[in-house]
């Protein structure tokens, strides 16, 4: 499922005193199976962009192609797009509404018009993907679960629609570290197993560095930087000038390099840093 965005512009409240340009001639290409990290300041246009990808917002101008299908065309059936592109909003647990976990996750598949047995399979599968025990939880009310579990129910609700592109808008916001790691692990697993295209919107440079293959940095409605994690995080000055930064461990490595220039500071995850420091210790011992 490839995505191609051409010259996308979106204006909120056009022709009123509250007019604001949320997206300004954005062009992006995303290939099948990529894991994209979308980062940017609040109000940089990330959310607006993701909402365009499954047709919730119509561009003011520009085109969006999903597998060569122009979804900005008036004749395109929206349910078709929503089947292909799953969107998990920020704080998705706020959209839970059903009496039981099962019914809530089944909401999407039922809307797709699937048979009862297929719906059941999908719910089971989706709960498995997010590591929720099916038998134990299916008849519980989603409102009596913990925050992390509720979030996973909500994510399962989107996964049950089996989208080929999965967009997650800050899926770990407001979660404790344990739930955060679990959810990120499951997303990673999902990407590897299903081979689906994943777009992860996040504020955490650490999460992004650990997971994604390519980063898109948004600033004031335009794409500021795009490239692999390494390429992106090398542009420290530019990232900092737009109010972002690089993973904290990279700052640590930069400090170490100031002390001993033999350090490699081109490092973005804690694991890499560990290896580098171990290497340095060995070098010192041998010397």
């Amino acid at each position: 499922m490839s995505i191609k965005i051409e010259n996308l512009t979106y204006i909120y409240n056009p022709k009123s005193p509250f007019e604001s340009k949320a997206l300004d001639h954005v062009s992006i290409e995303i290939k099948q199976g990529e894991f994209i990290g979308l980062i940017g300041h609040t109000g940089s246009g990330k959310s607006t962009l993701t909402q365009h990808l499954n047709g919730l917002l119509k561009p003011t101008s520009g085109k969006i192609y999903i597998n060569n299908l122009d979804i900005t065309d008036k004749n395109v059936k929206m349910p078709e797009i929503r089947k292909k592109v799953g969107l998990v909003f920020q704080y998705p647990e706020h959209q839970l509404f059903e009496e039981t976990v099962y019914k809530d996750i089944a909401f999407g598949p039922i809307n797709l018009g699937l048979s009862e047995s297929e719906v059941e399979n999908r719910v089971k599968e989706a709960m498995g993907l997010v590591k929720l025990p099916y038998e134990e939880l299916k008849d519980r009310s989603p409102f009596e679960l913990s925050g992390g579990q509720r979030r996973r129910v909500a994510i399962a609700g989107v996964l049950a629609m089996k989208p080929e592109v999965l967009i997650l808008d800050e899926p770990t916001a407001g979660l404790d570290p344990k739930s955060r790691d679990e959810i990120l692990q499951q997303i990673k697993h999902l990407h590897e197993q299903m081979g689906s295209t994943v777009i992860l919107v996040s504020h955490s440079m650490e999460d992004i560095a650990k997971l994604v293959g390519r980063i898109i940095v948004m600033h004031k409605g335009s794409v500021a930087i795009t490239g692999t994690a390494r390429e992106t995080f090398r542009q420290v000055e530019k990232l900092e000038s737009i109010g972002l930064g690089i993973p904290q461990i990279s700052y640590v490595m930069k400090k170490l390099k100031e002390i001993d220039p033999s350090f490699n500071d081109d490092i973005f995850t804690v694991e890499e840093a560990k290896d580098e420091i171990m290497k340095w210790i060995r070098r010192r011992k041998n010397a």
Binding site: N13, P17, L87, H94, F97, F107, N111, G157
Partner: protein, 266 residues
Amino acid sequence: MLKDITIGQHYPTGSFLHKLDPRTKILTTFAIIAALFIGMNFLSYTILGGFIFICIYLSKIPMKFIIKGIKPLRIIIMITFLINIFMTPGNIIWGYGRLNITREGLYQGSFMAVRLIFLVMGTSLLTLTTTPIALTDGIERLLKPFKKIGVPAHELAMMMTIALRFIPTLLEETDKIMKAQIARGADFESGNIINRAKGLVPLLVPLFISAFRRADELAMAMEARCYRGGDLRTRMKQLSMSSKDFVSILIVGLLLATIISIRIMT
């Protein structure tokens, strides 16, 4: 779709009308409403219409924006108009079966429609030129004398402030939940009435939950800052009437008097 509602919105332009004391604007709006009900003849409505249009001009709010506020009410205005032209007895000018249009009905219907439009214009002008906070402050001050007979002026004003404050929040929330459910394949726009009503469950349940949660959090936050009602509370911004307020009240007072005298004389 939700963004078409202009009643209750504030439109900042910094005009003369915006700078008036909220009390002045509340009182004069009431006077205009009264005048619209007292005078129902061509002369009075020409005067009132002229006055309302002058006010809109003074407020520097684009006419288009005001008209957008009337749009959602067009069906109510149409129904009022139609009921009046068919249901008023009098000289029949056109008839079909038991449906008769009378001259009096046409007259009555037009006035009713114009009255509704003027009412909406006048009141939306009040909210468009006054911030919600100023508006409730004004109401609180105006209700103060009635405190002696047990009207909880401050509490009412606080409730209104909170309600107004949360309108945009709830609209935003509704928009967000709606989008989230649409992304899961929910359909809010097609089907018959029963299906559509059922379709609202995925929207209303999360909305109510979040409204209650917000109420709870707000109450807690207010208590944490020792809120305990209006007694002994002072304000950061004191309302003060200036000469332009008195002049405005005088002008509207004269207008009301004119409308009353036209009514008495005819």
